[in-house]
């Protein structure tokens, strides 16, 4: 007995020994593995934090822009064209219009820069500065701002009116310190006197950092970068999203309904199915090539038009909506269909009156995910000419336009790096904010719809 047990026992003891010895190593490996997991999660979260930290820290200051508050004197000596023509003085509307046009031309030709200059000098009477350097302080569209004020209300002639003028992009850089303030004169964008005046203005409160509403109301500008805004790109994106929603949702839902509820299982429907799965993974730039070749070159639709952009994005979004709607349809319990059919509803009635309404929350979420994806897409839009510089707000989906992500692309490439790095980040904040809003709406609507269902 003992003979047979002993070797076994010693082998067992040996094994236990071995196991005990290896346990330390195994536990160390376990801890290492666990730490690797924690580290990768930390890395992923760290990337999110760095990304958002970078964008917010760069972009948020850009929403408060240096603005010069001056008293502008609408000098009758300088403003030409005399008083605005009155309608009563003219025999017909046409004559009046002609006189107004003539007056506006004359007014435009007046020396508005002098008025800007005088207003600026009034804030720092003892400061010696050349006019050219002085005008560098404010954005180059300041003279048009005053002129438009005068067009809107010509009663200000001969009066002194408080005006807020945006400082130039270079002044803004200098005051915010986004360029090296210690760099030598030949490396600075502004003359030494202009910089000194900007500092003095900031100290005496003539320049303050005001909320830059114009980011939302102005269009892109090259001549006066300080006034560049997102309104044009926003409208372009809006038109495209309307096209996407109007086309992609009905078509996507209809094909999902057909494939899930009606289609017989045969080669053709298999083909459609494989197709949709593949389309979902085709690179977006290929859709841009399709748009350039088919919509623009073959069908002759206008370049840079939100309509074409919307069509391209529709084709790109379709698979997302189809796949999600099909998943939602599959989740509807079969008993619902059986009950409806059993009560004598036709196949169509069953689907459209009973099954489809159950999927609305899912379809809604899919739509918003698809639209958010389309909203952020850039590459295909570059290929259909939406990266052109457009200086007005598009009035319809056939006008030339650009889109928010493309505007980001254009701004990051601007020569005035210091200013546009911040402005680009601001545009990114706006874009991400819109996406966040879309998702919040989706969550809100979804919870309401689900509560009702």
């Amino acid at each position: 007995m003992t003979d047979t047990v002993l070797p076994g026992a010693s082998a067992g003891a040996q094994n236990r020994d071995q196991v005990r010895k290896s346990l330390t190593r195994r536990h160390r490996n376990e801890a290492l593995f666990r730490w690797a997991g924690i580290l990768s999660i930390a890395a992923a979260l760290g990337f999110v934090a760095i990304l958002f930290g970078m964008i917010l820290s760069k972009g948020l200051p850009s929403f408060w822009q240096s603005t010069v508050h001056v008293e502008a004197y609408f000098d009758p000596e300088l403003i030409e064209g005399g008083p605005r023509p009155e309608l009563a003085d003219f025999p017909s509307q046409a004559d009046y219009q002609e006189a107004v046009n003539k007056w506006q031309r004359a007014v435009t030709l007046s020396n508005w820069n002098r008025i800007v200059e005088t207003a600026l000098r009034a804030e720092a009477p003892d400061f010696e500065i050349e006019s050219r350097d002085l005008l560098e302080l404010v954005n180059s569209a300041a003279r048009f701002q005053l002129r438009d004020m005068y067009f809107a209300n010509s009663d200000v002639l001969g009066q002194t009116v408080p005006v807020s003028i945006l400082a130039s992009a270079n002044t803004d850089n200098w005051l915010k310190g986004t360029i090296n303030r210690d760099a030598p004169d030949d490396r600075q964008q502004l003359a030494a006197t202009t910089r000194a005046l900007a500092d003095q203005f900031e100290a005496n409160g003539t320049i303050s950092f005001d909320f830059a509403w114009h980011i939302f109301t102005n269009v892109d500008s090259r001549s006066a970068p300080a006034t560049a805004g997102l309104a044009g790109a926003f409208m372009g994106s809006l038109y495209m999203m309307i096209v996407v929603i109007v086309l992609a949702v009905p078509i996507g839902v209809a094909s999902a309904v057909y494939l899930e509820e009606f289609a017989p299982k045969n080669r053709l429907t298999d083909l459609i199915e494989v197709n949709i799965n593949n389309l979902a993974a085709v690179p977006s730039i290929v859709f841009g090539l399709l748009g350039a070749a088919v919509f623009i070159n073959y069908l002759g639709l206008p370049r840079s038009a939100p309509l074409v952009g919307g069509l391209v994005l529709t084709l790109m979004t379709l698979p997302t909506i189809i796949i999600a709607t099909r998943a939602a349809l599959r989740a509807v319990p079969p008993s619902l269909r059986q009950a409806a059919l059993g009560l004598g509803a036709s196949h169509n009635q069953t689907v459209f009156h009973h099954v489809l309404p159950m999927t609305y929350p899912g379809v809604l979420t899919a739509t918003i995910i698809g639209v958010a994806q389309a909203l952020g897409e850039t590459a295909p839009l570059l290929l259909i000419g939406m990266s052109a510089f457009i200086a007005n707000i598009p009035a319809g989906p056939l006008d030339s336009a650009t889109a928010l992500p493309v505007q980001i692309y254009l701004w990051q490439g601007n020569e005035n790096r210091n200013f546009f790095e911040a402005r680009t980040s601001a545009a990114i904040i706006v874009l991400l904010g819109l996406m966040l809003l879309l998702n919040a709406i989706a969550i809100f609507l979804r919870s309401r719809l689900e509560k009702r269902a």
Partner: protein
């Protein structure tokens, strides 16, 4: 104006025919013993379909063919020798006549022939528009008349409407097929036109990428070697995978096997935020933050790393792909049967041993599929590389140097004024075709592997 007239016509047809179908079928059933087969709503819809569809068909045909009809009409008005000129001269002559007719005028005095053609064209324009509208209205009225004659208690209006609905559904689901067809045909045809300029062998196996600008080239078409671009693409994808696969996979493992439910509920959505950020934002991030950081780091350890390089683009692309890998792997790990895990743990393996020796081998095909999908996404990614890869299409092995990719070259060649006739812009389609074929192959393979994996455990 025209659009308004057309919309008004369609709207009137729609309301009138629906109303007629609805009220007539109701009258049939009112106060008598006859029962309608279908509810009046369906009769109304059927009548509306019969009235509006023919009108829409006519208007659609006109929209398709009006251009060519108009052109041939104008050409017929002009002297015969005009039509024998080059196509672009013919087109110019036609647009001239149209400009005269529009009243905006043209440069130079219009010739008598042009003036005559223009006035003929103006009246033709009016007549044809009126004709089309009249035809559409007449057909619509005819359809309505026929539809209301058919209205009877036994008419299976609902079934007929349902057939229409079914057809509409089928038409919608063919859009996906048409899209693929459109992609393949447009890429193929333009790529073939490109290959009529450049030998395909020079394209696929060339090692120099130097498409000269059309304006500077004196007959020289430039060199279009795909290999530098392909190498750049592959290098960036490899770097991206080196970043994304370990981090994504390990996060998925930790979140699904170790993490507390509450931690998982917070961390998972935060990581998935990365998936929703537009790629242009990643590109900007790479350009402004990651690039300078890497080149600073390189200075510190004495390696020359350029701010825009394959490394910068690859790392940022990896960050972008992390949520893609982690959520796919999460799904796949969740599909491995619990019994396998419990068995391993019960035999005394530690948790990490269970994961490494049991879970991962079981989930391997699925994970490979996920990685392949991620690679196909990395290959097709555009904006990050446009901004951060440095756009230098030279064959180099060093990832710290700038490089270029297939997608970047597509953007460079087709942005600007594309005229679709020069190899400089047509090459974009050959590149697109290559890209499409590569991603298609990867996707099909990945979907096949993932599907096989799912079947294994079902």
């Amino acid at each position: 104006m025209n659009a308004l007239v057309i919309a008004a016509l369609l709207l009137v047809l729609l309301t009138v025919s629906y109303q007629v179908g609805w009220s007539r079928s109701r009258k049939l059933a009112d106060g008598k013993d006859t029962r309608l087969h279908s509810r009046p709503i369906y009769h109304g819809v059927l009548a509306a379909l019969f009235a509006v569809l023919p009108a829409i068909v006519i208007l659609g045909l006109w929209a398709l063919f009006s251009q060519s009809v108009t052109n041939s009409f104008i050409l017929a008005q002009l002297p015969a020798e005009v039509a024998q000129q080059q196509p672009f001269e013919v087109q110019a002559a036609i647009s001239r006549v149209q400009a005269i007719a529009s009243g905006y005028g043209v440069i130079g005095e219009p010739t008598p022939a042009e003036a005559a053609a223009a006035s003929a064209y103006a009246s033709f324009q009016q007549l044809s528009f009126l004709g089309v509208i009249a035809a559409a209205a007449a057909l619509g009225a005819g359809g309505l008349f026929w539809a209301q004659r058919r209205i009877a208690p036994r008419l299976r209006a609902r079934s007929e409407v349902e057939v229409f609905v079914r057809l509409a559904l089928i038409a919608c689901s063919t859009v996906a097929i048409l899209t693929t067809l459109g992609i393949v045909l447009s890429l193929l045809s333009d790529a073939l036109r490109f290959f009529s300029f450049i030998n395909p062998l020079d394209f696929f196996f060339g090692t120099t990428w130097n498409p000269r600008f059309q304006s500077t080239g004196s007959g020289s078409a430039g060199e279009y070697g795909l290999l530098p671009l392909l190498w750049g693409t592959v290098m960036i994808s490899i770097i991206a995978m080196l970043v994304a696969v370990p981090i994504g996979l390990m996060s998925a493992i930790y979140l699904s096997q170790y993490a507390h439910e509450r931690v998982r509920g917070v961390v998972k959505p935060i990581i998935e935020i990365l998936a929703g950020i537009p790629t242009i934002v990643y590109g900007f991030f790479a350009l402004v933050t990651v690039g300078p950081f890497l080149s600073g780091l390189g200075d510190l350890v004495g390696i020359d790393i350029r701010a825009t390089s394959a490394l910068t683009a690859g790392i940022v692309m990896g960050i972008m792909i992390i949520p893609f890998i982690s959520s796919l792997s999460d799904d796949i790990l969740g599909q491995v049967p619990r019994a396998m895990r419990d068995g391993s743990l019960g035999l005394g393996a530690t948790q990490s041993e269970t994961i490494r020796k049991v879970l991962l081998p079981a989930a391997l095909p699925g994970v490979v599929g996920a990685v392949l999908l991620a690679v196909s996404r990395a290959i097709g990614e555009t904006m990050i590389v446009v901004l951060a890869a440095g756009n230098s299409p030279v064959l180099r092995a060093n990832p710290a140097e700038p490089t270029s990719t297939v997608t970047v070259s597509i953007v460079n060649q087709l942005t600007g004024d594309a005229d679709f006739t020069s190899p400089q812009s047509l090459v974009a389609f050959a590149l697109g075709l290559t890209l499409f074929a590569m991603t298609l192959l990867l996707n099909v393979l990945a979907l096949y592997i993932v599907r096989k994996f799912r079947e294994q455990y079902e």
